[in-house]
Symmetry: none
Subunit: 406 residues, 2 copies
């Protein structure tokens, strides 16, 4: 992956530092990765001229391609053009050609100061048409490097890529190698365990770039390599051999969608009985479009009364073992299978915390059961961290177990 | 607001440059603004040692406070600690104190290489306890500047602010002009409506800084002003007068916690019957610790059979009006109230999409009912955008209606 060209992103606008999410970086990644670029840094800065200029200087010193987004409007705080001129040591001029384009679209209104200001370009710039706004994009060469100025609104810059920007970037970097990637979705391993298992793969194919992301009871492992090198295919084969059934899918697969696919393929249905996860498992299952075809329903049985009445858990069981027990989990799953007349039923009962833990049954202790035609299996697991994290781990655990028995 | 100190954020992790949204900057903003800081730059960089180090060098040259998030884990790509040591010209040592803390929590497992590595600190660092993970945070002074190293997962770094980080930052910058802020949690308005209603308030108090964040069926409105100026109190009074009952809470209140507070105060209980939200409403309600005191249970009645069997919806109703109808919503809520013997019961049935819409019942159409002692109220709403967004809007809508009738 060393051969990839480097791109840096600069996003201007104080709102990005004042509470607003920056949604653009993944969008730029989607567009630049297939052109052979790795994004190596992103900077968000305010609207000040020297702020923007210092981001540009740094980025131009490190990267081959610099994308600057925002600050091309006609108002007082739009200083990206001036910052680029300062950094490149160039002047700004009024482009007759740009004025002609705006004149064609807006007629005499182009004489308005705001519109006239939009016809200014940095000396040596190649302009990029903007069919959805008045700010032109600008392509600026500096030696073998390229800096691109784009207007801030996505509606304005997004069409520019297809119209000409992809072609301009390709033309500016004729040797750029495209990149292919593969994302493994893994359950049942914590991050260090996944890394230990995958280390031989990373050692065997050291030229690829690797990322490991930890989630609740899940891990994502991403490998990227030059397209056409066959490397991602080899990595995929090697990782599948090691991780086997721990991989529940690739790319955008979720545990719920993987369960859904297997249920659909087998023509089977499922139901849920949840206590401590409070509906999270069924919420995840139904987040998949079309899940009504295989999810019969779910019972959130938070109280003992609900466990008895809805799911037929015996009050003797609750009395003897407690609601958080192997035995209650077992009866909950059997009850849900009967109630919803489903092929499979799962149950979750535990202590999500932060209160309610005891020495014998600490916060994070969760019992599960899976009921099917062949009987019922029970599980006991101890999770850690916060209420939300414990619930997420519990939901993912039982979805993964369901996936494996279908 | 000009005298504010400068803070810069550095987020490490190649995933942030490889397609993953950076959700953290607004969260850091929320925490640093009340302490008197303006965020003046944010940088996201990869996992490389020199990448991280160069971000740190730049940030330390410009800002008073530098927050570095991520890269403190025990795996090969966790190099933030090493980068900080390089930039500050310091060594890294094994902290007996940190080992003691981990030993108390994990016992003999601390001898594992992964855990042992987590006890390393940059020389001169003050460690920050991490109750939700194994990576310690680190406070590093450089002259009058402060660099803070935080673990990447939000679940780990978020509690650190309340536990000690706020106090440590305040102590490090005793002269910082404190900023007071108030966050309004609003339901039932879209962002432009909220902005239009609040414009007179912003005009009347122009020296405060304002932020509006849009959520599904909800809006957050944040006003910040110098502490002790009395401005936020005045803004609060003015906004409450305008928005009245549309404000469901302040600061960290959620719709579910607001519902929970009202139920607890009234000594009442609730139950849910969900179709298109698939358990989301009960998941939200049970995400609040202690919710078992007032949530009796929930039925996820995805299939017609479940609606009939669990909730007693008449098959004649389903046949005549369909599952997505005023009438079915009504019977679902009445059935849930009876089944769970709760004071209140809510129901949700709609078309979450992306498929299943018709001209008469398009994607996003949702019917609701609220049953109580005095009878049942029904609602019909049309939402838009994606399946997840429609479900989130529907859940928030009915939680808000429940809140208002308790």
């Amino acid at each position: 992956m060393n051969a990839r060209l480097k791109a840096e992103i600069i996003c201007t606008g104080s709102e990005l530092l004042g509470g607003k999410l920056n949604l653009y970086v993944p969008l730029f990644y989607e567009r630049l990765a297939p052109l052979g670029f790795a994004i190596t840094r992103e900077q968000s800065c305010g609207d000040g001229l020297e702020d923007i200029a210092s981001c540009m200087r740094g980025a131009l010193s490190r990267a081959d391609l610099v994308l600057v987004c925002g600050g091309l409007g006609p108002t007082f705080d739009d200083l990206t053009r001036a910052a680029a001129a300062r950094v490149l040591g160039r002047s700004i001029y009024h482009s007759k050609e740009c004025e002609g384009i705006l004149r064609e679209r807006y007629g005499a209104r182009v004489r308005l100061p705001n519109l006239k200001d939009q016809c200014r370009l940095v000396a040596g710039a190649k302009y990029i048409r903007n069919d959805n706004g008045t700010a032109f994009g600008e392509l600026l060469r500096k030696g073998r490097k390229l800096m691109v100025l784009l207007p801030g609104p996505r509606l304005e810059w997004e069409p520019m890529f297809g119209q000409c920007l992809n072609a301009e970037i390709k033309a500016a970097f004729p040797g750029a190698p495209a990149v292919a990637s593969v994302k493994f979705k893994i359950a049942g391993l914590w991050e260090p365990q996944a890394e230990a298992l995958l280390r031989p793969v990373m050692k065997k194919f050291p030229t690829a770039a690797y990322t490991i992301l930890a989630g609740p009871y899940t891990v994502e492992f991403i490998a990227a390599a030059p397209a056409g090198s066959g490397l991602t295919e080899k990595i995929k084969a090697a990782a599948v051999k090691i991780l086997a059934d721990r991989i529940y899918g690739f790319e955008d697969e979720t545990l719920a969608s993987a369960v859904g696919k297997k249920l659909s393929a087998a023509g089977k249905t499922a139901a849920t009985a949840e206590s401590c996860t409070g509906g999270l498992v069924s919420e995840l299952l139904t987040s998949v479009p079309g899940s009504s075809a295989y999810l019969q329903g779910g019972a959130v049985a938070y109280s003992d009364a609900a466990k008895i009445k809805l799911l037929g858990v015996r009050s003797a069981t609750l009395k003897k073992y407690g609601a958080v027990s192997m035995q209650s989990a077992r009866e909950m799953a059997l009850g849900a299978r009967k109630l919803f007349k489903s092929d499979y039923a799962l149950s979750v009962t535990g202590i999500a915390g932060p209160d309610g833990g005891t020495a014998a049954k600490p916060v994070g202790l969760v019992f599960f059961a899976l009921a099917g035609k062949k009987g019922v299996r029970v599980f006991r697991r101890q999770f850690f961290k916060t209420r939300a994290y414990i619930r997420a781990c519990a939901a993912n655990f039982i979805l993964d177990e369901l996936r494996k028995i279908i």
